[in-house]
Amino acid sequence: MSIFQLFRKQRSAPMARERLQVLLAHERSSTGADLVSILREEILAAIAKHVQLDNDKVQVKMDRDEHVSILEIDVEIPLDAAMRAA
């Protein structure tokens, strides 16, 4: 093992610290419901008011980061439902 590998290998603790900080900040927020989870539920509820939501046709992805979180909601809306609403 080279000396560089040794140094590179020693840097895992800061990463552990950073991961824990992000995770625990989300988990501690009272009910465990952080903004991203609240948005997720409210957006899905808003869609459900207009379209009969089929769980198979809804994909939700989240990725929480230190500075930004990504919420990705992918809903397939059947054509007839879209026409009825129009």
């Binding site: 552990a16 992000v22 769980n55 989240m62």
Partner: protein, 271 residues
């Protein structure tokens, strides 16, 4: 139809979650389709060990209670296409798991995956018995230490009585995974010998994982050790164990036993 494996131990903190992640990843690294299921409801950690903690949307309890579809709860690993995680719930307790719900989830997972690896919680209560309920095969994780061996013996008893296989009168295939094995302590005679543990528990050995800083590093960065550092000693031991799970026959090496004379002298002086 996929194979269901329970990773269990009775005793806490012996390396079940570490081993579930490493074996799951090792099998997926061979191109097999694998899901690792966290049964530790209320104290999930598999997501953290596998580095998926920021991407959990739904969990096993949501699926069992009909709040989400299985496909919505499964998280695909960012590094390995064929590796998936089904996280446990962090906010509910173990009573949220129903036998019927677990049965449905297991049946569906078996249809889609080659391997379903169930990371059991410690103990012998509901969570642990539900995790083993549908297993075709068990990996009994044991440390070379008296209380761990005793608890493993207890778990072996449950595997032979409380599982579906046992109730049907079939034989449950059980494998011993000896983890946190410290060659230096073995050399000094301060640790139970591999032969001793094998003789006491009398189930076949599937691998010996050395005590290693590489395991800690892997969990710090959030990757199964077989992915974090594929050439480290624990990773190689997990790769071999995964091959044995898949049916290959390989000789087992005891960590540290192949050391030359120099290593032996050095080891003694250091002790």
């Amino acid at each position: 139809m996929g194979k269901v494996i329970v990773v269990t131990s009775g005793k806490g903190g012996v390396g079940k979650t570490t081993s579930s992640a490493a074996l799951g990843a090792a099998l997926a690294q061979r191109g097999e389709k694998v899901v690792v299921v966290d049964f530790d409801v209320g104290l999930r950690n598999l997501d953290l060990v596998m580095g998926a903690e920021r991407r959990v949307v739904y969990d096993l309890v949501n699926v069992i209670q009909g709040e989400a579809k299985l496909t919505q709860a499964l998280i695909r690993d960012k590094r390995l296409e064929t590796l998936f995680l089904l996280p446990a719930s962090q906010t509910r307790d173990k009573d949220a798991l129903t036998p019927e719900g677990v049965e449905l989830v297991m049946a569906e997972l078996k249809r889609v995956f080659d391997w379903v690896i169930c990371d059991s919680p410690a103990g012998i209560e509901r969570g642990a018995t539900l995790a083993m309920r549908h297993a075709d095969m068990a990996v009994v994780v044991t440390n070379p230490e008296v209380s761990s061996v005793r608890d493993s013996d207890r778990i072996i008893g449950l595997l032979d009585s409380k599982t579906l296989k046992a109730e049907r009168g079939e034989r449950m295939e059980k494998h011993l995974l000896l983890t946190r094995y410290d060659p230096n302590r073995a050399e000094r005679g301060d640790m139970l010998k591999v032969e001793d543990v094998l003789e006491i528990l009398s189930i076949p050995l599937i691998g010996i994982i050395p005590e290693s800083m590489d395991v800690l590093r892997a969990s710090n960065i959030g990757a199964p050790v077989t992915l974090a550092d594929a050439r480290s000693a624990p990773a190689m031991a997990y790769f071999d164990a995964a091959r044995r799970l898949a049916g290959e026959v390989l000789p087992i090496t005891i960590p540290g036993e192949k050391r030359g004379l120099f290593g032996k002298i050095f080891g003694r002086r250091a002790a």
